[in-house]
Structures are given as C-alpha cells and as structure tokens.
C-alpha cells in the first residue's frame, strides 16, 4: 500500500502552503505536489486607479520586498508616459534598491538559511534556528547582523519615506532629492556594509566549504536541477538589479534569449494547474512540457544562482573576485546545485553593498534634477527589475488619462513555482526510500530544497528569525494518520 505524506502547513504570507508526497507500495516516492492556497487579486483591483498611484499600492504585495514592487511599478509608469527620468533620479532609485538588497539578503541568509549549515542540517531542532546560529558565531556577530539590516532599512527610509512601503518614485523620476548630509550618512553605512559582505563570504568558506560533508551535499544530485537560467544584465552582460535586459542562458550555459521588458510576452507564458492558486511561468518559445527538467523543458529559474549563471560576471571588483572563486570551486558554468544559491546570495549581497558605496559617491547623486514632467499621452508600459527572489515584471495599460485598464504581474517567486515543485520531488525521492525511517532530520533536509529559493509566495517568511515549521502526517489509504513527525 502506498503512503501519503502531507506537509501542512508550511506557513506563508497569506496563510498556508502545502506539500503532498506520495510513495509506492515499497515506500519509494512516486510524486510530490507543492500547493499555494491563496490569491489576493492585485491585478484586478488596480484597475480603475490612476496609474501614478500603483507604485504606492503594489508594494503591499510584499512587505519584505516592497522596494522591488515600487521600482518595477515606477519603471512601468515611466514607460506608460514614455518619459525617461533624469540620470540622478535613476541613480537614487538604484541606491535605495541596493540598500534593499542588503536588508533582504541579510534577513534570508542569517535568519533562515544559516542554521542549516552553521548548526547543521540534522542538528537538534531546538538549536537549529537563529539563536543556535548566534550561539555558534557569537553574540557580537548577532548584534552586527541586527545593525547592518537596520542600517539598510534607514537608507531606504531616507530616500523612500518609509522602508516598508516606500512612496518616492513617481512617473518621470523621484519626489525628493538627496541632501549632502543624508549622502554622507548613507556613504558611511555603505562602507560598513561592504565589510559585512566580505565577512559573510568568509563565514561561508569556513563553515560550509571547509566541511566536506556539506560540499558533498551541495554537489549531490538530489539537490541539483538541470533547467534554464534567467537574470537581468547590463550592457556588458554583468548582473544588474535595477535595469537592463533579461537574459536567458540554457542548461549548457549558452545564451538562448536576451529581451527588453516590453518584449516579455514573446518569451514568457503562464500555465495553470487546478491544485494551486499560483501559476507556473515557462519559456514560451519552448512551451510547457510538464514538470520535467532538461534542455527540452520550458522550465527556468530566477534566483541568485540563475542570475550568476545568466551573466558573464559582476560589475564591482570584490564581487567579481567572489564570482570567479564560485565557478572555480563548483566546476564551471552553469552551476546546477540548488544549495549553491545561498553562496550566490552572499556574492550578490557584497555586490549590492559595493554598488551602494559607488552610488553614494557619485557626484550626481545629490543633484536637484530628479524629476522630468511627462508630456506624452499615457498608454502602455512594462517595467522589470530583478527582485531579490526573481525577475519581477509589471505591465500596465491605461486610457489616455492615465487610468489603469489592465495590469499583468509576474512576480519573483512565481517564476520559481515549477522549479520549487521539481526540487521538492527530487529531494523527497533522494531522501525517502524503501525502509527509510522518516526522521525529523530527513524532514528538514526536504525543507532545505525549497529554503534555498528563499520562497516568497507573498514574500515574508524569510525575514523572520526562525525557521519554517513543518508537520508530516503519515496516513493510510483512508486518510487516517498513522504517524506524525514534527519539526519542533
């Protein structure tokens, strides 16, 4: 008789996420389903609103990455009005965004992911959390984590008004210029963030890369995925978070496509399944071939790892060194190891901090020229930024008065809906086999497969010190619970 493992709930933003694992008579996993049980409908209720209000409304999609939505929206409304903001305005937006990346990546790595490596994937549950991490690395480091995240929030508040739900971007630029006093504060905090970025990579080297058990785990087949890679790149094909073109590199590391935001509908489409409210984006020219890996499948990922794979390098010197070390250590491009996403995230954190300092020192950054009044009739626009958890696309259509008629959004983690489903199935198949005692530690290792994505179904789990709680119920065919395994 086959068994059914229900992982419910994995708590998400709007209530709960769910994983269902089915085994055959022998106890080998035959299939696993990942379900998202909520829908809020921003695409619908943004209709009828003045388009300039959308950058103030859409951040509520996610209170952990509101800057990503604010800026994708701002770029879409610029496009709707066919207005190109002055260069200082674009730099100011990017500066706020770099601080945002530092906040977001710190929150995920230190509060959620680090416990699996610093404390250990099968360590006692009571220790496998942020407090356990602090116990291992020391209180001083814990305080530094709090301080650096707090600084990043301050920078966003200075530029955006509020860090959570910024309001500063308007069609044609920004509502406020930066003062010299503010610039000095921001520069100082940026210099300290670069040091902290380097510290994070050192910590990863010592704790993870010097431990052969972890390196084997990272390189193992059950934690790898052979799919296409998406990421935003600048004109030199370097990783960029705020602007550029979307580049897709295939499973062999060759460029498949490079497209501008307004062309996104030629390259990406979304598939629907009846068992989840969240749609499944795929590469349109290849098509939806089901939940399968490989060069012939349209499934791609959009994560820190895929961004490094989709680019030719990093645009800042220290991050570029880290990028080269990454590929040398893991054996060339593209890297397919899901768990290497954590390392990639730390390289991005360093890049964001370096870019933060560059922008804070840019002579234009305190220019008063931060807004250009739109003069064209509004119509249609697409804005894309690279959100911490994946390529973020906002597409708006308005009437000639700038009132929104249609909104389409393809949000960070949505890109990764199919890859997360595949990763969970693969990890479950690798870990749960005939005769396996499904322990809490095994359970956590299934969890690690999706934690690497920093899943953000509406984006908040990763910001909180702790871990995603799980229960697996082992049921008979009538649905009666035979055994319950808890992660607490």
């Amino acid at each position: 008789m086959g068994k059914r493992y229900t992982i419910d709930p994995i708590t998400r933003l709007e209530g709960h996420g769910k994983i269902e694992i089915f085994t055959d008579d022998e106890g080998n996993v035959i299939n696993a389903y990942f379900q998202v049980p909520q829908l809020r409908g921003f695409e619908k209720f943004c209709q009828g609103r003045p388009v300039e209000e959308l950058p103030r409304i859409v951040p509520r999609i996610c209170g952990v990455c509101p800057e990503a939505h604010h800026l994708a929206s701002a770029k879409a409304v610029d496009a709707v009005y066919k207005v190109d903001p002055p260069s200082p305005a674009k730099k100011l937006r990017e500066l706020m965004y770099m601080a945002h990346y530092v906040h977001s990546h710190i929150a995920h790595f230190y509060a959620l992911a680090a416990a699996d490596f610093v404390v250990g994937p099968q360590a006692p549950v009571a220790e496998r959390n942020i407090l356990g991490v602090v116990a291992k690395v020391g209180l001083e480091t814990g305080g530094e984590v709090i301080k650096q995240r707090s600084n990043a929030q301050k920078v966003q508040e200075i530029i955006g008004g509020k860090a959570t739900h910024p309001v500063c971007a308007i069609p044609g630029g920004m509502s406020k210029a930066l003062t010299e006093d503010e610039r000095q504060q921001i520069e100082k905090m940026g210099v300290s963030a670069v040091e902290f970025g380097l510290f994070g990579l050192d910590l990863f080297r010592k704790v993870v890369l010097e431990n052969s058990e972890y390196v084997d785990l990272i390189k193992s087949d059950m934690y790898s995925l052979n799919i296409h890679n998406m990421g935003l790149v600048d004109e030199n094909n370097k990783v960029n978070f705020y602007d550029g073109k979307v580049r897709v590199v295939d499973t062999n590391g060759k460029e498949l496509y490079k497209y501008s935001p307004e062309e996104y509908l030629d390259y990406v489409a979304e598939h629907t399944e009846p068992f989840s409210y969240l749609k499944y984006p795929f590469l349109k020219k290849i098509g939806w071939k089901g939940f399968v890996e490989g060069q012939e499948s349209g499934i791609y990922w959009a994560t820190p790892l895929s961004r490094l794979n989709a680019a030719d390098g990093m645009a800042t010197p220290k991050a570029q060194e880290a990028y080269e070390e990454f590929y040398q250590t893991l054996g060339g491009k593209p890297v397919k190891a899901t768990l290497a996403t954590h390392w990639a995230r730390l390289i991005e954190l360093l890049y964001a901090a370096e870019r933060w300092v560059e922008l804070a020192r840019d002579p234009e950054i305190t220019s008063k020229e931060v807004h250009k009044v739109p003069t064209e009739t509004p119509k249609e626009g697409v804005g894309i930024v690279e959100a911490p958890r994946g390529t973020l696309t906002h597409h708006y259509i308005t009437d000639e008065n700038g009132i929104v008629q249609k909104v389409n959004l393809i949000v960070g983690t949505t890109n990764n809906n199919a890859p997360i489903s595949l990763s969970i199935k693969k990890a479950a198949q690798g870990l749960i086999k005939k005769g396996t005692k499904v322990s809490e530690g095994i359970l956590n290792m299934v969890e690690m497969a999706f934690r690497a994505y920093d899943p953000c179904l509406s984006c908040a789990t990763h910001s909180i010190p702790g871990r995603i709680p799980l229960i697996i119920n082992l049921r008979d065919k009538n649905g009666n619970i035979l055994e319950t395994i808890r992660s607490d």
């Binding site: 086959g2 709930p9 933003l13 209530g15 709960h16 269902e20 389903y33 379900q35 049980p37 909520q38 829908l39 809020r40 409908g41 619908k44 209720f45 009828g48 003045p50 209000e53 409304i57 951040p59 509520r60 996610c62 209170g63 952990v64 509101p66 929150a107 709090i146 929030q153 530029i159 955006g160 008004g161 959570t164 739900h165 309001v167 500063c168 308007i170 069609p171 509502s175 406020k176 996104y264 509908l265 979304e270 629907t272 399944e273 068992f275 989840s276 409210y277 749609k279 795929f282 739109p374 389409n408 509406s458 984006c459 908040a460 789990t461 910001s463 909180i464 702790g466 808890r486 607490d488």
Partner: protein
C-alpha cells in the same frame, strides 16, 4: 523576576510588512525575548495550529493578529486566537480596517478568477483550468481552501480589544505599545493604541495658511514649492482626516497622505470626512465650477477608501 508574558502573533491576508515592523524595533527585540515567550508565531517559531488549539482559554497574555480575513482558515485562527488570548490586538491597518487587499471588495471572486486565469495577457490556459477546492491526481486527491468573496476586518469576525494602526505601524509606536503592555497600564478596551487622537496635519512639517483650492493636480504634473501644505498646493492629501503618529514619513519625501493610519476618533467614515474636509476648502461659490474642480479628483474611491473599504459597510 516577574512571570514571563505569553505572546502570539498570526498573519492572515497581508503582506508581511507588519512582521517586518516588529523586526524594525531592532535590538529591542532582544528585550522582548527576555520578558516574553512567543508561544505561537507561525513564521518565527515552530508552534502549530494544533499547539494553539491545545492551549487553555486565556492562556496567552497578548495575541496580535495582522492582516484581514479572506478565507475560512484565517477566520478559524482568529476565533482560536480570540479564545486563547486575554488581550487581542488588531495589528496594522488590514486587521483594523481591511487595508489595501480589501480594495478587492469592489469586485467579486468570479470576476477575479476570470481575469487572473483567463484574461491576463501572459496566460496559456487553452483548457480553461481554474484552481479547485479538490483535485483528483493519479496518486490521490489534493485540496485547497476556498476564498471568500469579500475581505473582512478582524472585528467583523471576533471581538477585538485594541487596534494598532498603520501600513505598517511605525516601529517607534510598536516599541511604545510593547512598553505599555509590559507596564500593564492599558487604556480602556476598544481603544486605538500607538497613534494620536489628532489629525496628521498636527505633526506635518509643512506650512498651513488659509486653504483655498482652485485646481487638483497629480504628482507627476506638480511643481512643489517645498514648504507649503500639499493639499493647499492642490494634491489630494488625507492628512486632515487621518490620525497622526506615523511620523509624517510620506510627507517627508514630498508625497501626500493616503490615510493608512485610519479615521480620527470621532469619525465613522474616513472617506466621508476626507471628502467633506476637501470640499470645504474649494475656492468657489459657483456650483458648476465646484463640480469641475471636484471632477479633477479622478479616483475618489481609490483615494478616500484605500485602507478602509470594509469599514464603510453597514454593520449588522
């Protein structure tokens, strides 16, 4: 040392910004850990619904609920959290007023599904698939919760003791409210905490003169003089109809208030008070001209009811 408090926090139909606002009290979060045990916070600690259900009625000292109520599970947790908590706080504007997600109440579930799964331009859904409460797959049956047609406020579902406004609440107000809870000197039940009883205008850094408005403008076509009241300069601003306490942070970057701190104590309907405050300062006596000026407010529903749509519905 005094007995440690038991605290619980749940998120419902929301964005997570309320949880970040608690993190934003920074090092003070370590003080909270010293005086309180967090017995249930699904995103932070491992307590599950089952553990919550196993607690005795009133065993939790303070329960925080953020987000509005949009499906049966969220309503179920609200009821349990109410039963187990001595004090239940609606944390943030979604729990208090419905918040931005409640803008969906202008439409219904069927229209929402039609757009999201059929009409949105990136769909590739030739078989017209929609999410189902139960789906048969080869290995068994998968289930999903059913969404409500409308978003509800927390106090439409259970009795609420205190309301903490903001989208999200300002971290300094959050820290103050925690201090008040620890001190035990709580205001009367039903009070709004962590906000002022006076309008945002009272803490606005801009200069106010006699407001006379001839024209309403949109931010992208607006030339700010950098010092005068934004409403006076013609931007729709909800400051006169909204509680203070937020630190005027939107105004600090030259953007008008959209009302996230909710209605003033005496107001029942924030949108109606905003509209009447704005109508009273239009600089004309000619009904036709007044109408012309009012028509420049292009989305009254979206400006005046952005955070509080369910609060306007008649209570039964």
């Amino acid at each position: 040392m005094a007995k440690k408090l038991k605290i619980a926090k749940y998120w419902a139909d929301c964005c997570g910004g309320c949880d970040v606002s608690l993190l934003d009290i920074d090092a003070k979060i370590l003080d909270v850990a010293k005086i309180a045990d967090i017995v249930y916070w699904p995103i932070a600690v491992d307590g599950k619904n089952k553990d919550l259900e196993a607690l005795k009625p009133g065993e939790i000292d303070v329960g925080f609920y953020n987000g509005a109520v949009h499906n049966s599970e969220q309503e179920h947790i609200a009821q349990i959290l109410r039963e187990k908590s001595k004090i239940l706080v609606a944390y943030g504007s979604c729990a208090w007023l419905g918040g931005i997600p409640s803008l969906i109440n202008f439409t219904d579930r069927e229209t929402l599904f039609e757009y999201v799964y059929h009409l949105a331009p990136s769909n590739d859904n030739p078989r017209g698939v929609e999410p189902q409460p139960r789906t048969k797959v080869p290995e068994g049956v998968l289930s999903l919760p059913v969404l409500y047609d409308k978003v509800k406020r927390l106090d439409e579902v259970v009795e609420v003791d205190y309301y903490l406004p903001g989208c999200p609440p300002h971290y300094e107000r959050v820290a103050e409210v925690i201090d008040v809870i620890v001190s035990g000197k709580l205001p009367p039940k039903g009070s709004v905490v962590g906000a002022k009883d006076k309008a945002l205008c009272e803490e606005c850094p801009r200069e106010r003169k006699e407001k006379r408005i001839k024209e309403f403008k949109r931010p992208q076509f607006f030339q700010d003089d950098g010092k005068t009241c934004l409403l006076e300069q013609g931007l729709v601003c909800l400051g006169p109809a909204t509680r203070g306490g937020c630190g005027a942070r939107c105004i600090n970057v030259n953007m008008p208030c959209r009302g996230c701190y909710g209605p003033l104590p005496e107001a029942i309907d924030q949108g109606a008070s905003a509209l009447s405050a704005i109508a009273s300062i239009i600089d004309s006596n000619d009904p036709e001209e007044i109408q012309k000026i009012i028509d420049q407010i292009i989305d009254p529903a979206g400006y005046f009811y952005r955070f509080g749509l369910p609060r306007q519905r008649v209570r039964t």
